[in-house]
Symmetry: C2
Subunit: 345 residues, 2 copies
DNA sequence: CTGTTAGCGCCTTCAT
DNA sequence: ATGAAGGCGCTAACAG
């Protein structure tokens, strides 16, 4: 049987309360007493039973998720994952609220962060727009002792506790490597469609993609990036124009959302163009396009993993505990039509 | 606050003990009383606090992992993950033991399963060799009410409760698709190296790979599969012979272990052959080969995920609980040198 | 500064 | 067939 607080109390010759004070390093213990207890802990090899501790505490963590509104399927999937987590709230001892803000709108986001601040939660998770007013608002949260995790897109310099998202430079590099290899010797330029250069994840993917293309496939012409605002209609228009202007277009890397527009434009151009399309995020639409062959590769970040990791980290940080970063790393999934997971319910 | 057993007892007008009997459907409750309690549970929307239940029970699950011995880096990594889980044993209320058996040896494995049976654990996880005597031994475990999970390689027809591993047909197909696309129009045959056709995961990968190659890249010559017994020295010899016999060899798919031998043989052949190599499992050696460019793609199954999933499932099955299969699915990771995760400690 | 006591939500004897 | 009481390992008042 593993040792309990009672065993430590006995071994150290003190009471339960004192053991508890030492364990949670609360004040009000002479350092000699503290030493005795710590020695007992060490010799008995005590490890606290977290479940029992939580039961006794009955603590509950109030968390706020700030997510972009709009049609973006990935973001809606992310929201669904947050709502799924809300459903398990009782078991997880969390109380989660969602704040919705217009996409790519730094002012609105900064206001939402301020609103979250007013509600004094234990932690906040935010899909960041990379702008000074947002950085400042997040900094103020932190200065007030509220834990902050950036979700999907990071916000360096904001003092956020953690970033729950993928390495977007690596994602861009991966896309570049696959694009270069899939195209082989086939001639023709490659286009890049982003959502907005205001968000860091898109900037980083672009950087990674361009880096690999210039470094490993230096003969390939890269067209200047166009910004589709993650809006399907706009993306369709932009991609349509690109295809028209470049009849020999060999590949398209869509590093943001609006895949419906991408798919529509490529399908309109027709099969015979054999455009190699690489896009991000597995959604019902992009899945269908991958299976039909319109999209060749999908890079994906698992929204469920990101949300659950964000919650774990927020709870830990709210308790002032450290986080094993390696254990919270979010993988970049690469999906071909052959390794697509079965559709979930 | 969510309802507790007390609330149900009050609502139903019975005692805690009776509520508990109903909750764990133990005998000794009149069906009228049972109904009253069940109605109370439903109207209050009660969900039991598993942590508190475990605390009260103090139950501990004894599990046995049966793993192949030998140099195979992946299997050693798997064992390391099991040992890591053993380290958390107290917190997880598990007592894990490891049984080691020679690789690809059906008799030895069947004996080990019988030995596990004798120890009467709550559950057994086994890396299966696909042979009748193993199937029989596993069936006997199940008939005795012991939960069984196959790990990495499955054993259909054995009545095992669950398979903790990847979809190996999909893995083979993915390898085939990438091989076909990476080679493009480049001429030359493709070789396949397996470990042994005695294990199901290797047979399935082969099936998937050949399927895609024949279906989507039908002009490409596929050499007959060779078996390297997951032994680096043997693999090196076999691959060396293949390269010698086919100076125009375009690609190699290594679907088993022994990557050290593969890498040695390909590097000996020299860069200028530009052989496209696709292999399985991320190990220190294969990682280095991916970074150096000797291996082009690594398909991987996360041993840690598999072990933790196996433990979760065994505990659930030991308690007679259902498992959400979708939630236990193990993904196929695809690693290029660009998306390799940072090396863990 | 330190100890006593009463729970957290659930399960388990032992009576009745 | 049902209930009362104590305890799992830990924490949190409240005394002293």
């Amino acid at each position: 049987m593993r040792p309990t607080v009672h065993d430590i109390a006995a071994e150290a010759g003190v009471s339960l309360a004192t053991v508890d004070r030492v364990l949670n390093n609360r004040p009000g213990v002479r350092s000699v007493t503290r030493d005795k207890v710590e020695r007992a802990i060490a010799t008995l090899g005590y490890v606290r039973d977290v479940a029992a501790a939580n039961l006794a505490k009955g603590r509950s963590y109030s968390l706020i998720f700030i997510l972009p509104a709009g049609e973006n399927s990935f973001m809606r999937g992310l929201e669904a994952e947050v709502r799924a987590a809300m459903a398990h709230s009782p078991a997880e001892r969390t109380e989660i609220a969602i704040l919705s803000v217009p996409a790519f709108d730094a002012r609105a986001l900064a206001d939402a962060v301020a609103e979250a601040h007013r509600r004094r939660p234990a932690g906040v998770a935010v899909v960041a727009v990379d702008a000074p007013e947002v950085t400042q608002a997040v900094k103020r949260l932190r200065e007030d002792g509220i834990a902050v995790v950036t979700l999907v897109s990071d916000l360096p310099g904001s003092m956020r506790d953690h970033f729950a998202g993928v390495d977007n430079i690596a994602a861009g590099r991966t896309a570049g490597n696959l694009m270069g290899r899939f195209l082989g010797d086939r001639p023709g330029p490659v286009a890049v469609v982003a959502g907005s250069m205001l968000v860091r994840d898109h900037r980083e993917r672009l950087e990674g993609f361009q880096g690999v293309m210039r470094q490993c496939f230096e003969t390939r012409l890269l067209l200047p990036v166009v910004e589709g605002q993650d809006d399907a209609a706009l993306v369709e228009k932009l991609v349509g124009a690109l295809i028209e202007r470049h009849p020999d277009l060999a590949g398209i890397y869509s590093l943001g959302a609006g895949n419906r527009g991408l798919v529509a434009a490529v399908e309109k151009a027709g099969r015979e163009m054999k455009i190699c399309a690489i896009a991000h995020e597995l959604t019902p639409h992009s899945r269908a396009a991958l299976l039909s062959g319109t999209i060749d590769v999908l890079l994906n970040q698992d929204a469920g993993h990101e949300v659950r990791s964000a919650i774990r980290v927020l709870k830990a940080k709210a308790d002032g505990l450290a986080v094993i970063e390696a254990q919270e790393r979010i993988r970049i999934d690469i999906f071909l039509k052959d390794n697509l997971p079965i559709e979930q319910a």
